[in-house]
């Protein structure tokens, strides 16, 4: 049985835990405001909000219901557009209507829900954050400018919030229906009644994290399958620092990472870099372990953590073992992992003061797109000499790759334009890109060279940009 609150109603359903929230909402509950545009997480038409208690606080995040299995919303509050409708248009809807931000209207409930998510979040009420909240919503009609104008007006509404709790503020000011004020308590009761987590099959091959990869790949298969949900397991979540090590729970989402103190402190550009990766709802759902196990040759977090030289702790429930992340990949989507093993922990050493990190990604569309090529670098430089180097690159071979020879070459060398060019030449010998929808192999080669240059330009202001730009690579 899956139990959750849907809008203002308690739901107990015996639908399979692996079946999709979107289908449940539309075809079981007949709530037709949640639309279907792609079933791949790429359009946002199916956006809903999921409210959950975190450390006793009620937090809402936007999800694409097309990739969310019921198992992942057990014990939570799910909000569809019907759940935020009031007698007349609520102020969010009014702003959208006033700005003529709806044409065919098919995308509109998704945008409204994402904006409601913005109103319910604890972020600063500014235009930038409001627009970021709708970065996973595609509209083919409006050209977005009217939606931006609406977002601006909504931001104004929210500016009065100050330090007030979001739920309190939006209910007190009639931005969202009053029943939201009762949800916290109802969720607490629900979780007591449920006595913790979903009953899970003890052993099964199919683990699920956020589902953002699984449900794109094989939604039909999973509907009735025996799925083991790791997403809500508290022991698998959290990001903490112990000594000079950072421990990341495998079920930590990208949004969790963004919110973590450790990451903010040690990777000041993290939020800027993360903006290039998927979209707000996908980041709310996607877990780090899911990214690793997905084994996509262009997995952004895989590339990121390869350069951090991260280590995995794998467990089969009884025995655990450690494995450096880069050893996980044996060939295209083949892993050094037994089916019953899952990632229990991820750790890496936090960079010291002489250690520099950068991440670069280029895709056809800058945001909400899979990379053509991505790369990350971590360099330790002492007195102008590179003492430690880890350079990773994706989209240039069958696996997400640690460029070991190039990294080795960099060690012991000075940061000069010549060294960088030589490093690029070596990198070219380590990669084997193919031509596909994300670019021709020639392009990917050229691009990796450019992005390696970009790493150094970003990290070492003393370099002569012109010299690097004009030098020929590949």
């Amino acid at each position: 049985m899956i139990n959750f609150i849907l809008n203002n109603n308690e739901i107990n359903t015996d639908r399979p835990a692996g079946s999709l929230l979107l289908d449940f909402i539309r075809y079981n509950q007949h709530l037709m405001g949640t639309k279907i545009g792609c079933r791949e997480g790429d359009c946002g038409a199916c956006t809903v909000l999921v409210g959950d208690l975190e450390n006793g606080e009620l937090q809402y995040r936007s999800f694409t219901s097309c990739l969310t299995p019921l198992g992942n919303i057990h014990g939570k509050h799910v909000v569809t557009v019907e759940g935020i409708n009031m007698d007349d248009l609520n102020p969010i809807q009014q702003c959208m209507a006033d700005a003529s931000a709806t044409q065919c209207g098919f995308c509109t409930p998704g945008f409204v829900m994402s904006l409601a998510g913005f109103c319910l979040s604890d972020q600063d009420a500014n235009q930038q954050n409001a627009v970021a909240a709708i970065d996973g919503n595609i509209c083919r009609c409006t050209g977005y400018k009217s939606i931006e104008r609406a977002a601006g007006k909504i931001t104004e509404l929210m500016q009065q919030k100050g330090n007030q709790e979001a739920v309190e503020f939006v209910t007190a000011n009639n931005i969202l229906p009053g029943y939201f004020a009762s949800i916290k308590e109802r969720l607490q009761k629900l979780s007591l009644a449920l006595n913790g987590e979903l009953n899970q099959p003890a052993s099964t091959a199919q683990f699920a994290g956020g589902g953002t990869d699984l449900y794109v790949q094989k939604p039909e298969e999973l509907k009735e399958a025996n799925v083991r949900f790791l997403y809500n397991k508290d022991v698998l979540k959290g990001i903490r620092k112990t000594g000079n090590k950072c421990f990341v729970g495998p079920s930590a989402t990208v949004t969790d990472l963004q919110g973590s103190e450790v990451m903010r402190q040690y990777f000041p550009n993290f939020n800027k870099q993360v903006k290039l990766i998927s979209s707000t709802p996908i980041r709310n759902m996607a877990t780090i372990a899911g990214n690793f196990i997905n084994a996509s040759p262009i997995g952004d977090f895989t590339i990121f953590f390869l350069a951090l030289n991260a280590t995995l702790v794998l467990s089969d429930g009884n025995k655990t073992r450690e494995l450096p992340l880069h050893k996980l990949y044996k060939g295209y989507k083949t892993l050094d992992k037994r089916p019953e093993e899952f990632i229990e922990q991820i750790w890496f050493e936090l960079p010291g003061k002489n250690t520099f990190f950068n991440f670069e990604k280029v895709s056809k569309r800058t945001h909400l797109d899979i990379a053509s090529v991505n790369t990350a670098i971590q360099l330790t430089v002492v007195d102008g000499t590179i003492t430690e180097a880890h350079l990773s690159a994706g989209g240039v071979g069958p696996i997400p790759k640690l460029l070991e020879q190039t990294s080795e070459f960099l060690r012991g060398r000075a940061v000069t334009e010549e060294v960088i060019n030589d490093a690029i030449d070596i990198a070219q010998s380590e990669i084997s890109p193919i031509s596909d929808a994300r670019g021709t192999s020639g392009y990917k080669r050229l691009l990796l060279g450019q992005l390696i240059k970009a790493h150094f330009i970003a990290l070492f202001p003393h370099l002569q940009v012109k010299k690097l730009l004009l030098s020929h690579s590949s």
Binding site: H30, G33, K35, I36, G37, C38, R39, E40, C43, T80, V81, E82, N85, L89, I92, Q93, M96, A97, S100, T102, Q103, C104, G105, F106, C107, T108, P109, V112, V131, D135, N137, I138, R140, C141, T142, G143, Y144, K145, S146, I147, E148, E220, K223, V362, S363, K364, R365, T366, I370, A437, G439, L447, Q450, K453, A454, I457, V465, L469, L470, H472
Partner: protein
């Protein structure tokens, strides 16, 4: 006035095809498409599918009760492939089952054995093999052959544009419910209810009066549901007709992308000649349209390509030829602009080529050659032009010269980032190019409680046509808009409709509504005159009241219509509108093809990251000829949306078919349309309010398609930014300018390393340039 649907849209209460409550016993369909682009069917195995749980029937070509044919212009497109398959995804079988999942699961078990035939994906190759959909057509003006001699400069080259996926967020679909006496009720997500009706009748064998097509609204169309909604409706109609059960098919995104046609890719040759003052003297263009495997609307689209081949310019000697080439892609189809953007890109490329070679700004050439009132288009119509007005206003209002200076300064100070500017004038003709389609009907009922119902052939798909039609009725009757309801589009209420397309929907249906309302109004005035005992000519309806000689009487709208009804005066009307003046003589390829043209100029500024090969659009600033806009909020929305869609076509939207004709960009994860961050940071729109008379509804010019072509400016702005980084960059005229092409161009040889290289290359270039 706001879009009348904005309330239900924002509340999630608007009903689209997949939201229609299902009748009990509804069955679900799913199509099996050919896995191969071209070949002879040796055998088709549906026996496993037939045995799958929940499967009711698997339809193949032999189950078609009427004619196995859905081709609109030319009967060359079977509903279900019988002997031969002509494109990947071509429907071969249609599974009908008790659930959506069961139907789709059964589709997966179908196998087909096909003897492969050669696959053509390139239009030039198709032309070389004589694979043409229709005979080529040529438009000419003056005499290019002799005009070349008079040219000081001549430039030639190739320009290519890729296709474009419509990506309406609501996918295609239909739901067909059998009625008594063998009739069918068809719900379809279509821009062309009559086209769907015709196709459904053809395949079932039913007469049109037994098939009603009803459309509430679409979640986007953009041309993609003009003809291509037919297949799904016809499949469901056939199944419902045979099984006497409701049948629904709502396509998954991947099915939609794989099975439906897109904007036509074009490959074109151009040759352009100027006198010494850079006035255009002669222009010759040959267009190779990639039509795909069947005609669909390709011949009409090809025609508009020719009609717009000189964009906003006057050229005294023109010869333009177009070939509609049959390839093995899904039949390409209508898409905002309808062949016009493709030919505008070619002439803009010709101008850019000339400007590059002569070392001047394209704008110099563009400005000199803008079409003036009285100048002749190559198809014989005389222009009533606002081209220069738009251009000049844009230059002044947006201070184009200081933008230019600012860019120069920025580019000299920045190494990694370079900016580029381009101006894009647009001149777009309004009307269906097929004269017969320029007709529309409206059915207006005034009820005796004072409420008004309007039905037209227009389909609401976000363009706001229903809002405009409602405005027409409210304005003519001078009543509160809340009294008016625009009804769904139904072929039973309005017959023989033209599709909602060609930007002409509001004009045609608005005018028909205007006629119907005006006739009722005349009769109401008569009633009022009788009631008040005054002369009819003194009567006016204003703000819900009858006015006599400008003085308000106490006869209000409600009383008036009720009185009219009691007096047995008809307060319903069905009116027919046919656009006057237009005609086209295909034998001479001359005529008055358009009821009017829409003009405008866009100023585009972009910034290219020359290290990574990515870019941002800083601003698109437009002066647009609205005539007298009857709904600025809606019209601005159309312009902003059109611009961003046009930018998508020119930048990131890259359709990739492999050599076997398989679509590689087959999902939203591999085919990218603009997201909120790829929209220009700034879009400014200025209204060129012209009060010249035109044939638009309330002189409010059509606004659906023209803004799309402003997006072409982005391509040329990117090109200019690339050249600021690498003046000798090799940049073939080949849209879209993806980040890949940008990076390859930035670093194309020769590199901008030294002055010598530059000089050497310049010499080479000049020798080509001068005749």
């Amino acid at each position: 006035m706001k879009n009348i649907d904005s309330k239900t849209h924002t509340r999630g209460k608007s009903i689209y095809l997949d939201d229609i409550p299902l009748l009990q016993g509804t069955l679900f369909g799913a199509a099996f498409g050919s896995p191969i682009a071209h070949g002879i069917i040796r055998s088709l195995n549906i026996s496993v599918a037939e045995q799958m749980p929940g499967v009711i029937k698997v339809f193949t070509a032999k189950d078609v009760t009427g004619e196995n044919q859905i081709g609109g212009i030319i009967p060359d497109e079977p509903l279900l492939a019988e002997h031969e398959v002509d494109f990947c995804g071509m429907p071969v079988a249609f599974v009908v089952a008790q659930s959506d999942d069961a139907a789709r699961a059964a589709v997966k078990t179908i196998t087909i054995d096909i003897e492969p035939l050669p696959v053509i994906t390139d239009p030039r190759e198709a032309k070389a093999r004589g694979e043409l959909i229709v005979p080529p057509r040529t438009f000419s003006l003056g005499n290019v052959d002799t005009a070349w001699q008079a040219c000081e400069y001549i430039f030639e080259g190739i320009a290519e544009t890729n296709g474009q996926e419509h990506l309406y967020i609501e996918t295609q679909g239909a739901y067909v419910i059998p009625q008594e006496n063998g009739a069918l009720k068809v719900y379809s997500s279509t821009q062309g209810p009559t086209a769907v009706q015709r196709a459904s009748c053809r395949v079932t064998g039913l007469p049109m009066h037994l098939v009603e097509v009803e459309v509430t609204r679409l979640g986007g169309g953009f041309g993609g549901k003009e003809d291509q909604a037919n297949t799904w409706a016809a499949l469901c109609a056939l199944a419902a007709h045979r099984l006497r059960k409701p049948v629904k098919y709502s396509l998954h995104r991947m099915e939609d992308m794989a099975m439906t046609g897109k904007r036509h890719p074009y490959s074109s040759d151009y040759k352009i000649g100027f006198d010494k003052d850079l006035k255009m003297v002669a222009y010759e263009a040959t267009f190779y349209q990639n039509a795909g495997a069947a005609a669909d609307l390709s011949p009409a689209i090809m025609e508009r390509t020719l009609l717009h081949c000189t964009n906003s310019y006057f050229i005294p000697n023109v010869k333009a030829t177009a070939y509609s080439c049959r390839t093995h892609l899904p039949p390409n189809t209508a898409f905002r602009g309808f062949g016009g953007p493709q030919s505008m890109f070619v002439i803009e490329s010709a101008i850019a080529k000339a400007a590059d070679t002569l070392g001047i700004d394209s704008a110099v050439i563009q400005k000199k050659n803008l079409i003036k009132t009285g100048d002749e288009f190559p198809f014989g119509q005389k222009a009533v032009s606002e081209a220069a007005e738009c251009w000049k206003k844009a230059e002044q209002l947006y201070e184009v010269n200081s933008i230019r200076e600012g860019i120069k300064d920025f580019n000299s100070k920045n190494q990694i980032y370079k900016k580029g500017l381009a101006l894009m004038p647009v001149c777009f003709g309004i009307s269906f190019t097929n004269t017969a389609m320029n007709q529309a009907r409206s059915l207006v009922h005034v009820y005796f409680d004072g409420s008004v119902s309007v039905s037209t052939g227009a389909v609401e798909m976000g363009q706001g046509v229903n809002t405009k039609i409602l405005q027409v009725a409210a304005i003519v009757f001078s009543i509160h808009p809340d009294r008016v309801k625009v009804q769904t589009t139904s072929t039973s209420r309005i017959a023989n409709t033209s599709p909602s397309a060609a930007s002409a929907t509001a004009d045609l249906n608005g005018k028909a509504t205007y006629l119907a309302c005006t006739r009722i109004l005349e009769r109401l005035k008569k009633v009022a005159a009788e009631e008040l005992g005054v002369d009819e000519n003194l009567i006016e309806l204003k703000d819900e009241y009858v006015f006599v000689n400008n003085v308000q009487s106490d006869l209000d709208w409600k009383k008036l219509v009720n009185t009219a009804h009691l007096k047995r005066v008809g307060i319903s009307e069905h009116a027919n509108y046919a656009t006057p003046e237009i005609y086209f003589d295909k034998a001479k390829e001359k005529g008055h093809a358009f009821s009017y043209h829409v003009y405008g100029t866009a100023v585009t500024v972009v910034t290219v990251d020359c290290l990574r090969g990515i870019y941002e659009i800083d601003a698109v600033k437009v002066v647009h000829d609205f005539g007298t806009s009857m709904n600025p909020a809606i019209d601005i929305g159309q312009i902003e949306g059109g611009i961003v869609q046009g930018i998508g076509w020119m930048t990131m939207e890259e359709i990739i078919y492999d050599k076997e004709g398989k679509l590689r960009s087959n999902a939203l994860s591999t085919y990218k349309v603009p997201d909120i961050y790829s929209a220009p940071k700034e879009i400014s729109i200025d209204f060129l309010q012209s009060d010249k008379d035109n044939l638009a509804i309330f002189r409010s010019k059509a606004v659906g398609e023209p803004p799309f072509m402003y997006g072409i400016g982005t391509y040329f702005a990117l090109r200019n930014a690339i050249k600021a980084f690498n003046p000798l960059a090799h940049i073939p005229f080949n849209a879209p300018m993806t980040p890949e092409k940008t990076l390859l161009a930035l670093y194309s040889n020769p590199q901008p390393l030294s002055k010598e290289i530059k000089r050497k290359d310049e010499e080479a270039v000049t020798s080509v340039a001068i005749n």
